[in-house]
Symmetry: C2
Subunit: 381 residues, 2 copies
Amino acid sequence: MAYELPLGDAERLRKQIEAGPDNIWRYAPLLPVPADVASKPSLNPGFTKLVKADNLARELGVTGALYVKDDSGNPTHSFKDRVVAIAVEAARAFGFTTLSCSSTGNLAGAVGAAAARAGFRSCVFIPHDLEQGKVVMASVYGGDLVGIEGNYDDVNRFCSELIGDPLGEGWGFVNVNLRPYYGEGSKTLAYEICEQLGWEIPDQLVIPIASGSQLTKIDKGLKELIALGLVEDKPYKIFGAQAEGCSPVSAAFKAGHDVVRPQKPNTIAKSLAIGNPADGPYVLDIARRTGGAVEDVDDVQVVESIKLLAETEGIFAETAGGVTVGVTRKLIEAGLLDPSLTTVVLNTGDGLKTLEAVAPTTGQSAVIRPNLESFREAGLA
Amino acid sequence: MAYELPLGDAERLRKQIEAGPDNIWRYAPLLPVPADVASKPSLNPGFTKLVKADNLARELGVTGALYVKDDSGNPTHSFKDRVVAIAVEAARAFGFTTLSCSSTGNLAGAVGAAAARAGFRSCVFIPHDLEQGKVVMASVYGGDLVGIEGNYDDVNRFCSELIGDPLGEGWGFVNVNLRPYYGEGSKTLAYEICEQLGWEIPDQLVIPIASGSQLTKIDKGLKELIALGLVEDKPYKIFGAQAEGCSPVSAAFKAGHDVVRPQKPNTIAKSLAIGNPADGPYVLDIARRTGGAVEDVDDVQVVESIKLLAETEGIFAETAGGVTVGVTRKLIEAGLLDPSLTTVVLNTGDGLKTLEAVAPTTGQSAVIRPNLESFREAGLA
């Protein structure tokens, strides 16, 4: 499963990629996967839409090209399908028979689905008091779903204990003992964005921060494309986005610190609610090195931004997408993000999974009797 | 907006299609849309995955190739994005300014999203007592969502009245006055299936029946591909799938009738719950002419089939997908569908929108304390 970047003939590599399948396996030569990976049973995630967001650009005062990379188009509707797909191939190579993870929702569903299709048993661990919708989604694929009496940190600790115990023999935890493979999956976001822009690096990227892994791997992916000669070397700025209720990296960035002080999360953006982000220091380094920044928005702005994206582009994002869109607006207002350049904003999940965030501020405009008079009275014609 | 099939140079047409965008606009020459349609703001639905379902095949005793055409990958996660996209282009050509529809859920969301992106106002009508999740999804895109005190038939009647009234001037109802365009969108399912099979018609297709329009348009699409020389002419069988609680077409098929007697729907497969399907007689004709059949399954089988598809292929279908998978199993057992041939089963929607169907039979396998002893006691290792 070791791999080396295929340096050398960039033109040949580009053609090979472009002739590949419409999913992340088109980048197989750049990933820690076997060469025949595309023929294995997989959910085949990736190659999601890069949406030119002209309506949103107008609303935000962006005069350059604005794009939304919409990962809600993945098989289980979040970017987690990318990272899990790579971990599954590693699990296959290592001879693991059970796939597992600690999760607060998106990841549990992604692992359950990928395991079902790839022929693994799955057993995933969640805090026992998750919303019913997430429990249904995570358990419908037929694997075991185990609720842990405790919070996400307790779940994580338990998983680490299980790995070291004979009970956990043959188990691959995608975000623990398979994490080095898992993480590489996020590079495909960088590859796709550049390929979809005609093999060009965008000037600016706005990326959500949970553990920070995704942001660091996108930076890694961009550097690889440059090293391979697939894109021209040019400066780019990476911006990190957090929710105010869980903003340890943003706080460190603003304070000029190199280390990240853990926080106790309290935000509706639960998929980003990691109070002690493992890759926080690397995120700080990347934001500073590239001339970017890390910013946060409060929950009201998250909801407003989910609705703004839906109303302008017809994309219904989960809370993490509200965070990136909201932070983009804030960065423009602060003069940190240049509205005249090409910008890509990530939406990493699906609004259907976080309905409760927008439920209080959406609903029927009117309820009428089934006749024209009643409709006229409602004043909506 | 009139169009003629571009008969003549099949090879040239095939190359043009294959070089087109990864969405339904690759088939623009075969659709009632302007030639530059791909450059208009649209959700760009289509070209969803055709999943080779080997695990499901084993479970169903299928020895031939079995595929699931998974339309949950569309932008708002149902096949409705296809039909709405065509209707939007017609609305643009006719100068309509407001997009509308009568809906029980999926369509309302698809119209709201497409209108937002394409720059139309939207005002959609639903029965006032829909589930909150569907209301949120349909209203998040910022258009007006009007609840009608009554059932879906009342909503439909009201829409027809509104079209004839000055209040409805400039309004395009995608499934009423734009229906001829709307319907054509379903042909793209046939085009994609054949292209994804290497320009071959599958031996057998299993298609859900609501109004019956989708099934008739898929048959139309297959015939067009043959006429155009894009695929070889060969016999194919079309099977229709209904839920027992709303099975007017299945009942007529089994009774040998040419007409369909309306039923009062009572099934969890709400997206198929049309008791008086407009295209029922045409469906009967197609099923009989091609040597197919129409069958139905009860709600218990719908839920079992949703779970079977999830557990074998990692695809979480809405109830309509449970109907097609369940009917496929029933048709094989009855000897009506040949398990040694190539079969394509449609999944037209997303399980996240019908969570309540599987909620009672899914959930946590166990709830444990965060320690190994507690996990050992649960007996899941």
